[in-house]
Amino acid sequence: MRITSHQEPTARTVILGVAASDSHAVANHLIAYSLRGLGFDVVNLGTCTPVEEFAEACVRHPDAEAVVIGSLNGHIHEDLRGLDRAKQSGRITCPVIVGGNLSVGSHKGGTSHDRLYAAGVDHILSDPAELPGLLDALRAERAGAAANRTGLAAS
């Protein structure tokens, strides 16, 4: 059943960008660099990237393992409007990971994360260092799921 992993391309593609109204570039530069250092093929859409632009990139890169979106300015909620639709319509099929500063204000811990999950976000990370681990876990999971599917079909 390990055949599924052979079917995956060797260069792992990740789509990266910063949310639509957000121009904070530094973390984006650093994350792109470190993922590339780990061998990822990073499609970095950079700052101020609307959902539509992420969706187009997904269509262009059907092999992308994840869409990784940073947001620092607190506008993630409005900026991700349309994400659920893009997923429902099948234009974004891979998991969506977000990270950064996910609400306006200094006192965190409200409903921000719940709202993001409801809006179509799959994973929320606080530290970019957690990204490679999560990407690996997702890949393993996908492999598992594929294996299960194959298994089922074969049985």
Binding site: M1, A20, S21, D22, S23, H24, A25, V26, H29, L30, Y33, S34, G37, G46, T47, C48, T49, N73, G74, H75, H77, E78, R81, N101, S103, V104, G105, S106, H107, K108, G109, H113, Y117, D122, H123, I124, L125, S126, D127, E130, L134, A137, L138, A140, E141, G144, A147, N148, G151
Partner: protein, 496 residues
Amino acid sequence: MSLSAFPGFPGFPAFPAHGSAPPSDPAATPTPAESAAYITSLGKPTAAEVLDRCRARGRVAIQPRCGVGGHEEMKALLATLEAEAAPDILTLTIDSHTRLLRFEEALRTLNLRPADLNGYPMVAHGWRRGRELNELIEAPLEIRHGSPDARILFDVSVASGITSFEGGGISYNLPYSKAVPLAESLGAWQDVDRRCGELAEHGVVIDRELFGTLTAVLVPPSISLAISVLEAVLAARAGVRCISVAYPQGGHLAQDVAALRSIPVLAERYLPAGVTVHAVLHEFMGVFPRQRDNAEDLIFYGALVARLGGASKLITKTHQEAYGIPDTAANVEGLRLADRANSPLLDFITVDDDQVQREMTWILDEVADLVEPLLERADLIEAIIEAFAEGRLDIPFSASRYARSDLIPRRDPSGAIRYLSTGELPFSSAHVRRNTELLHAVDGPDPALDALMRGLTGDINHFRHVFQEEEPATPAPRSAPRPVSAARTPPTEEPI
């Protein structure tokens, strides 16, 4: 979307903004002449007048950042800041939808969840509400934003009687957007500057502050100042009469003081006589310490740097900087703390003048290398666009495609910001050599890319290291963020 959907703009169809709809008939924005007459009738000092007065008294004017979505909330914020900290100038920080002309998004958020906005959506609220804010307080107001194209916002602001407006065709483009060509932003800001000239003819001098802070993180002083010089020359040519040159505290005392003290020299050198120029310091604009004590140490230090550098004005930070937009109390505390550096009891504090002099020479020489070839050109705007395209002008960590970010900054062992790589910047070989030598001790020559990134990250986190804050992010104050890591990742089910 159409502009006419907004209060304060022709054809406004009673779109309800948060709180209550703007009170009166949303006829056309007043003309510059009408706005100038309104401003004169207000009888409150303009920002330019306050800056002159502070400079004459040897006081660094103090100004917060502040902007919230709702109109009533904005009123409360301004009133409280004035009552409890009496800043010399107050601010409307604009939300980032409005900055990017995403007026529809700004209005939607304003109506649904105004607290989700990271600033005051001035265009959605309209100029009548702007006047209400302005009339509420004694201090003059400045609009701080980050709009590559600020023409609509400018008109609403001036109609509101606001006498200070931040930005520039380079400094409000490259750090603030991805895909706006410089030709567009420079053109839009030429319009703004020309409108300032027009207002000056009607007797109202608008303080035009240039955002030398740029991307805020490890910006070499000569880059910040060179870009401000170019924007200042364009502004002066368009008729602007009062220019504030803002410089972001980098964290090295002598270098920061030298940068501030360079501003009048540069003004003398490159600007026409009739223009008033003020130096402005932004308290440290990079990664802030997380612990309150440390953040406060940095806030006070920044204010002291402004004093020692002879700045006319200081833009303050708060002890909540590392966490998010501050609450009102933190903002008050930041202002009050910064103002202590204006104390008459601190006259005895001085800097090492030799060291400052040395840094100043370097800064002025580097700025000359960057700007003089461009200032010679007949079409300065064209020259600037070309220079960025070719890397003869550049900024680190650009948000925009229209700067190459080939230059690599690093801190030298004393913490000063130097050029590890100057990319295509037209520096004399002496400057390049000096920078290389100063950085030699940091990683040795030609560090591996990995070491470079580690080093850069360390430099970005400079003040967290100074205060020995441990790397793992400490939780936010009071309400800790709930653990977030991969919370919804389904458990990996390995088939057996």
